[in-house]
């Protein structure tokens, strides 16, 4: 059942893409900011995990305990120190500043770590599989990553709709001035949103580092995958983003099966097709 395994692999990597996308759409939802450096921050997280591993020798999944708060702190500082200044009606500053940030991160990583390809070893779990049906196998690690992605998205939904912080996010996104009248320091709210986004990025980055070779230049591609997952799935809907990620992953897997050079192209073509035919995405949030 060749195709069956191909589809399964596509679905599982779709979970990773959905995690790339979750951080991106969270920020857009709260402050209408699209972070062009998003993909590079994922790569930064991978390198942070690398450094933690080299310093402490712990396995990648455990290192998340350190990497996540580190990235969250970076996110808070980044928003509070830099990105809050770009928010406003003009579209150019946030776009160009995050673009500049992307260049800075890429070249900074290049200076510190060189262009060498790295990988984070996770041990035996990397090659373990389990069988679900006749001829159908699922990798343990990809499965764990998918499960974590689902948990992360569920946690984000829960946070947004059931907690005071989530209320603060939604209120600030609706009306900044009135949110201040509620006693919310919007600078802090935005910084918390970015910290949360970077926490999700941390998880995505560690999974990326274990799953594939990484180097300073692969950031933009991750941004694009996340972006495509958001657009395919539909803006404003986290579960739609998961669906978008899965569709993207499956498209890429099918493309790769036809011809290895067609992997990325297949994903882009599906994205462009959906953009052409149903630009609001497959599962957009209905209300305005």
């Amino acid at each position: 059942m060749q195709w069956g395994n191909v589809i399964i692999q596509g679905v599982l990597i779709g979970g990773l893409y959905a995690m790339f996308a979750a951080g991106l759409s969270l920020i857009f939802g709260v402050m209408r900011l699209v972070n062009i450096a998003h993909g590079d921050l994922i790569v930064l997280a991978a390198y942070v995990a690398l450094m933690v591993r080299q310093a402490l020798g712990i396995d990648p999944l455990t290192s998340l305990i350190l990497v996540t708060p580190i990235m969250a702190a970076i996110g808070y500082a980044l928003q509070r120190g830099l990105l809050n200044r770009t928010l406003g009606d003009d579209l150019l500053p946030p776009l160009l500043v995050t673009f500049g940030l992307s260049v800075i991160i890429q070249n900074g990583l290049l200076e510190l770590f060189t262009a060498d390809s790295r990988r984070l070893q996770a041990g035996a779990i990397e090659i373990q599989t389990f069988q679900v049906a006749e001829g159908l196998w699922i990798g343990v690690l990809p499965f764990i990553q998918f499960a974590v992605a689902v948990i992360v998205i569920a946690a984000l939904q829960s946070l947004f709709y059931r907690t005071p912080l989530g209320r603060a996010f939604r209120a600030t996104s609706d009306d900044q001035a009135v949110a201040q009248l509620m006693g919310l320091d919007t600078r802090h709210v935005f910084a918390m949103a970015m910290a949360l986004s970077l926490a999700v990025i941390a998880i995505a980055g560690v999974f990326l580092a274990v799953r594939a070779n990484f180097d300073p230049a692969i950031g933009p591609a991750r941004l694009i995958f996340g972006f495509e997952a958001v657009i395919i799935g539909g803006l404003g809907n986290m579960w739609g983003t998961l669906a978008g990620g899965i569709i993207l992953g499956v498209s890429q897997a099918i493309g790769a099966q036809i011809d290895p050079g067609w992997q990325l192209l297949a994903g882009h073509i599906v994205f462009l097709a959906i953009l052409a035919v149903r630009p609001q995405g497959l599962f957009p949030k209905v209300s305005g």
Binding site: L33, V34, I36, L82, R85, T86, L91, L92, P93, P94, L95, L96, V97, F99, G100, L101, S102, V103, I104, Q106, N107, G108, L110, E111, P220, L223, I224, F227, E228, I231, G261, L264, L265, H268, I269, F271, L272, L275, A276, P279
Partner: protein
């Protein structure tokens, strides 16, 4: 009769200086060294690319991080015509323009469905698609690329020196054409609409300006120019590969930094920005990726604290303009008898 006057004292000086500069530059093959000629040609192409990006982002409000799609398209089109059809390289450059415009039409139809920063990333995706498609075309070298055949190179001119002069003059001519076309556009009625869009898009729309159509036209025209410049660039390089043709760093990052530092939304900005950029490059060339890092920092600093760029600072301070683009209404004298 009342009329609109574009020139100011500073712009008259500016135009005179530019005319002098053009003459001097046109004669450069006779006074400059080979290396200087190459550098000047490179400067011209970046002025052209940055000016085109400025038209798109600074005036029409379309921030594209995917213009490398058209640079690479121009390069590959040139190589395709030369390698497959034995065409003359210079002719290929001029055919590349309309081809770029034609390709831009369906691309715009797609990416215009996205807004703001999502539009930007969308243009990036399109560039990636072009790059991946180029890697699939094996007659043009596939993933590793191809060199320009010797026969085509010789077809341009007999001696290497004449070829380099030709490329230099082409670069100068194309850049001057791009700038002249931009000035003409901005002085026209459509240019007035564009400037209105630049200043306040919502207000422009409520004044009856068809914003969508103007943006579409600007996108296609920019693609026209960018594709031609792309063809010229790769004629100069004599070799093309998907990575170099569609490089975000070379054709978008540098262009954005140049325009931001020089001044977005003013035609003089990219010119100033390119000069600053190349001065910095000569000074810091050995530092490699640290240099790119510094450019990123400078761009961020400028964007936050001097959003109108260097030219913006100077022009606001002194009220200058180098090219006659402002509009002053000169009212007719009272006794002309004209009734409103």
């Amino acid at each position: 009769m009342s009329r609109v006057q574009h020139a100011t004292r500073s712009s008259q000086i500016g135009v005179a200086l530019i005319a002098v500069a053009l003459v001097v530059l046109a004669l450069a093959p006779f006074w400059a060294e080979r290396a200087t000629l190459r550098l000047l040609a490179e400067i011209f192409t970046f002025v052209a690319l940055a000016s085109l990006w400025n038209l798109l982002a600074g005036y029409a409000g379309l921030v594209s991080v995917g213009q490398q799609a058209f640079v690479g398209l121009g390069g590959y089109f040139l190589f395709a015509l030369v390698v497959l059809l034995d065409a003359h390289p210079v002719a290929a450059i001029f055919i590349a323009g309309p081809v770029g415009a034609l390709v831009a039409v369906p691309v715009a139809a797609l990416v215009f469905r996205l807004r703001g920063a999502y539009f930007a990333i969308g243009t990036w995706v399109v560039a990636e698609v072009f790059r991946l498609l180029a890697s699939q075309v094996s007659v043009l070298g596939g993933g590793s690329g191809i060199s320009l055949p010797a026969g085509a190179v010789i077809a341009m001119a007999a001696s290497r020196q004449m070829r380099e002069f030709e490329i230099y003059w082409l670069a100068l001519a194309l850049t001057a054409l791009v700038l002249a076309a931009m000035v003409a556009l901005l002085r026209s009625r459509h240019g007035l609409a564009l400037t209105a869009i630049r200043d306040n898009e919502l207000a422009a729309q409520s004044n009856g300006i068809d914003v969508w159509r103007i943006k579409f036209v600007v996108y296609v025209l920019t693609a026209f120019g960018t594709t031609m410049i792309g063809a010229l660039i790769f004629l100069t390089k004599l070799r093309i590969s998907p990575e170099t043709a569609f490089s975000v760093n070379d054709w978008t990052a540098f262009v954005i930094f140049i325009t931001v530092i020089g001044g977005i939304g003013r035609i003089e900005g990219p010119i100033i920005g390119t000069i600053v950029f190349f001065v910095l490059r000569q000074a810091l060339a050995d530092l490699g990726s640290f240099y790119m890092l510094m450019m990123g920092v400078v761009a961020i600093v400028v964007m936050l604290w001097a959003p109108k760029g260097l030219w913006g600072l100077i022009a606001e301070r002194f009220g200058w303009q180098a090219l006659p683009l402002q509009r002053h209404l000169l009212l007719a004298p009272r006794d002309s008898g004209a009734k409103l």
